[in-house]
Symmetry: C2
Subunit: 377 residues, 2 copies
């Protein structure tokens, strides 16, 4: 079924809504933990559920290489393969392919790249990406786009955006092709155009010639400054249809998410909470701490005394530091639980503040506290 | 408190009993998952609990090096450090030190070794081992022994055993020293003597001059044949006091455990289920499978159709193989759950067969089935 979206509260440009999919409802603004290889690293599906995750992201690029779409399709799709019963969004694979740089070549038809797994040459066209995502049976699929590099001249950004728009048309045509079975989900389009506002608006116009159950903002979190990113969002988002969910791809730090929610963004994904966890970087109300620091060797307090996650309720900083030093799997697990809890609690707080009409004050305090404490991620 | 032990059912030499400690009851025969660094690798305490683990083993050698006894003592002991509320047995550190071979030198006082963590020289005397184990507040501590190499001449085995017996006396004297606080648990003695039965019996005699709440058989699972091991057990165990629990250290494969239970052993530990899990070797009713095998790439069946563990209820062999190929932490977790479930279910079946008076037949079938299928671990 095509996802449906309703907004039930607003606070300035920010909105609280409900995204309805075949696998259930996602309350927005929402954060999607990233499950690259059919697993949110270190977590079981039940743990994600109990943390309050309502939707996760799967990476088409990685899954098409390992184990391949065929094996996942034989399981009946990605949900059953990984035993996750709630909504899944899959990306198109484009972002990862473009990150390969020297290992790929691009044409109007699509992208060819050397598999980082076994070196074989792999093709990814809009039609290929749709085939994989249809096989994965994700609730939300993403159009294949040409991810504009940063920085890019106006001419470069225009050429890239225009190719993305032609690929969006091909993605749409293939995902919804009339002869085929009704897709399990719906396809989101992606606005490109780099840091060039006229291109961003042209991209949005081009997309709106087709019907999408949601739109994404791509090509951000690629190296631009915070100011540039907010500049794009502040100009672009008000032009996006109010009735569609808006997904800011790959962003980011807690403060970036808060700022983007204030601009009217509804959906987020980022590897930061899970990757940081495995590197011992833990989010707290007063900023990020590195559990590897020897200052924590005999610290009997929890990571964050104000946190009620499983990790903080049961384990000390000294224990977590010890697990990290010994490369114990449980360390990655406990850190991941804590960081995902932080992100998911952040989204819950944002939704509550929007509903209560207190978002402005809440966000000012949140951002000021992090700036004061020199929070870095 | 000193552990207490009662036997409530017998089948030949085998017994079913209850080992009572300050942290609860252990039904025997029991298997102790190994928690080297204050974590049974990849598992939370709650997962171990739900698998039915009643007691775990902590490694004094590893914990004294990282994080050190002082930090664990500051937490109130190993239970609180690692958030495990059930019984813990700690080994003495001797076995690991003796495994270092060229990196250690031994004297009557104790052993000196180079820390494999940072290269510093570390001393381990019987008194040192007791100090660490008392700080860990384990329910069962083990005397420091000189672990006899295999093979060993009679003279070598005798010298090693006699040193172990002198160290047992020193361990006992220090663990229960009168001026100190009452220990949290009790101290087990360890019978040594290599493959030489007169030495084994002399070792037992020497130990029985002191009071121990339990006795262990050490110096097995060090390279001897199955026949040699069973030879020692069949001659030694009938001479051990019937009222004390008997712990066979470091053994082993499921078939070895069954054979030892038939000889009258009550307690086991081994890294095999957890280490095998991380290497993709999974125990099943029809032997061990290697999930890395490409034959499982598209296998939609569970690891073992007759198994009701979390892994087998929810995930396919194809998914587990995929996780293993991608080095995903969840793979180690799901494999560990399955293998520990296998071992703990095995012990439950052994206890039930002893109580039902069907142990002989049960064991014959179990061992025959594994021989037929060429089960290897």
């Amino acid at each position: 079924m095509r996802p449906g979206f309703t907004v039930h509260a607003r606070a300035g440009a920010a909105r609280a809504g409900r995204l309805v999919t075949a696998h259930g409802v996602v309350e927005t603004p929402a954060f999607m933990p990233v499950g690259t290889y059919g697993t949110v690293k270190a977590m079981t599906p039940e743990e994600l559920e109990s943390l309050g995750a309502q939707i996760i992201l799967g990476n088409t690029f990685h899954l098409m290489l390992r184990p391949g779409a065929k094996i996942i399709a034989a399981h009946g799709g990605l949900h059953r393969f990984m035993h996750w019963t709630h909504p899944i969004l899959t990306d198109s694979g484009g972002f990862q392919v473009f990150s390969l740089k020297s290992l790929r070549r691009i044409s109007e038809e699509g992208v060819w790249f050397r598999s980082p797994v076994d070196g074989r040459e792999v093709r990814l066209t809009p039609e290929d990406s749709m085939e994989v995502q249809l096989a994965l049976r994700s609730d939300i699929a993403m159009a294949l786009d040409d991810c504009t590099a940063y920085p890019a001249t106006e001419a470069e950004a225009r050429a890239s955006m225009e190719r993305s728009m032609r690929w969006a048309v091909r993605s749409h045509a293939h995902y919804y092709r009339p002869a085929a079975q009704e897709p399990a989900g719906g396809l989101f389009g992606i606005v490109q155009g780099g840091m060039h506002m006229p291109l961003r608006l042209a991209s949005l116009d081009a997309l709106l010639r087709l019907e999408w159950p949601g739109l994404a903002v791509g090509g951000l979190a690629v190296g631009e400054s915070e100011q540039e990113r907010l500049g794009v969002l502040e100009s672009l988002v008000p032009q996006m249809p109010a009735g569609l969910p808006r997904y800011l791809m790959g962003v980011g730090r807690p403060e970036d998410i808060v700022a983007a929610v204030l601009c009217g963004i509804d959906l987020f994904d980022c590897v930061m909470p899970t990757r940081h966890a495995r590197n011992g970087h833990l989010f707290t109300a007063s900023g990020v701490i590195n559990i590897r620091n020897s200052a924590f060797a005999a610290d009997l307090s929890p990571v964050d005394a104000s946190c009620d996650c499983y990790t903080c309720r049961n384990f000390t900083r000294a224990y977590l530091r010890h697990l990290d030093r010994c490369n114990e799997i449980l360390g990655s697990r406990l850190n991941t639980i804590h960081n995902l809890h932080f992100y998911i609690a952040l989204m819950r707080a944002l939704r509550a503040a929007i509903a209560a009409g207190t978002l402005g004050e809440w966000a000012r305090q949140f951002l000021a506290a992090r700036r004061d404490r020199g929070a870095v991620a």
